[in-house]
Amino acid sequence: MNAPVPLAITEEEFQKFRDFFYRKTGIHFEENKRYFVDKRLIDRILATNNTSFRNYFVMLRFETSGKELQQLINIMTVNETYFFREEYQFTCLVNSVLNEIVTRKRPSEPIRIWSLPSSSGEEPYSLAIYLLEYWPRVDDYAIELIASDIDTTMLEKARQGRYDQRSVAHLPPPLLRKYFTALYDGSYQINDDLRQSVDFTQVNLSDLAQMRAYRDFDVVFCRNLLIYFDDTSRRIAAETLFNALNPGGFICLGHSESMSRITPLFKVRKFPEAIIYQKPR
């Protein structure tokens, strides 16, 4: 008689979970994602030794460590990075944002751009390629590209600049030929000029003391990291990012991330290509 009742998520439970998860993460599940969500939820309910959605949800909702929410976010999101991910933001950078920034710059003053977290380097190198290819004024200004991550293994990989097919799949083939060398094992080596143009450093975004040293940025790309933080850590991270920016500097978040769940510190700026946040001038 102790055959377990098969777990199922009801429509009301799905909606309750969906509302909560959206408020916490900004990730919204359409009705057609139902199967995907239910399956992962049931996996987590069983893995945490709960017997029903109701018990599991209580645990998720009241747990102070936020560990289970983090687990859920991990299995509901794509944690990989690749070249030209969320490309519309790079387009926005070269078409709109940089042109606004240079109106406030003296010719000798560098433009400082920070990719944090940079993971294995796809994001900062994409920025370098985008600037060189698509920003007409790239030769008129000195640009400093800094890339940081907490994970030194990732940073080492980034410095080496060797990528598999999956990482470069979104790059237009002419750019792949121009900036990479195809290796015999099917991977791609990014060229030395690009490797030299990015400065990689180890940083923990939650470490106020360490972050204090990073100043005077005009643009920060902080994509697909804050979504994994709890409310208080996000808040501290937002303070440190605010400190790192120049007045009028910009910050780009990942596509499901929004300052509306983090802090009112930044202004919302709507550009044709994207919504971007700005430190008030």
Binding site: M259, S260, T263, P264, V268, I275
Partner: protein
């Protein structure tokens, strides 16, 4: 079809306005705080905003003041609906840029009539 953006941190309130307004043929979108409301308002065109006062990240007054300074959306009408029933709350709402102020809970008939009026949706 006229589009309305409902901005309130209480999910049940948003669902209620949605139900009432959709039944009258309006299209309804929701935002859970003022900041999210501002993002949606800047991304998509609406015919009317319905705005709560007390919300996290950005309160309703700050939202309305910001909207009234944004060239692309400053002319969109807004109804402010809140629990605070003092005269000065209504005055503050008008000063921030509301076209109309209601106390909660608002009667469904009032919501429908004013939504029609402010969106120019005159039906029998």
């Amino acid at each position: 079809m006229k589009k309305i953006l409902v901005i309130d941190d209480a999910a049940t309130v948003r669902m209620y306005y949605r139900q009432v307004l959709e039944a009258e043929g309006f299209a309804v979108e929701e935002a859970g705080n003022g900041y999210e409301g501002l993002e949606k308002a800047l991304t998509e065109a609406f015919d009317l905003y319905i705005v709560d006062i007390n919300m996290p990240k950005m309160d309703g007054y700050t939202l309305l003041r910001t909207i009234r300074q944004e060239p692309t959306i400053c002319a969109t009408p807004a109804i402010m609906i809140s629990t605070e029933g003092q005269i000065q709350d209504a005055n503050a709402a008008y000063a921030a840029g509301a076209n109309l102020y209601f106390n909660k809970p608002v009667r469904p008939e009032s919501l429908i009539t004013t939504a029609r009026l402010l969106t120019g949706e005159h039906r029998a």
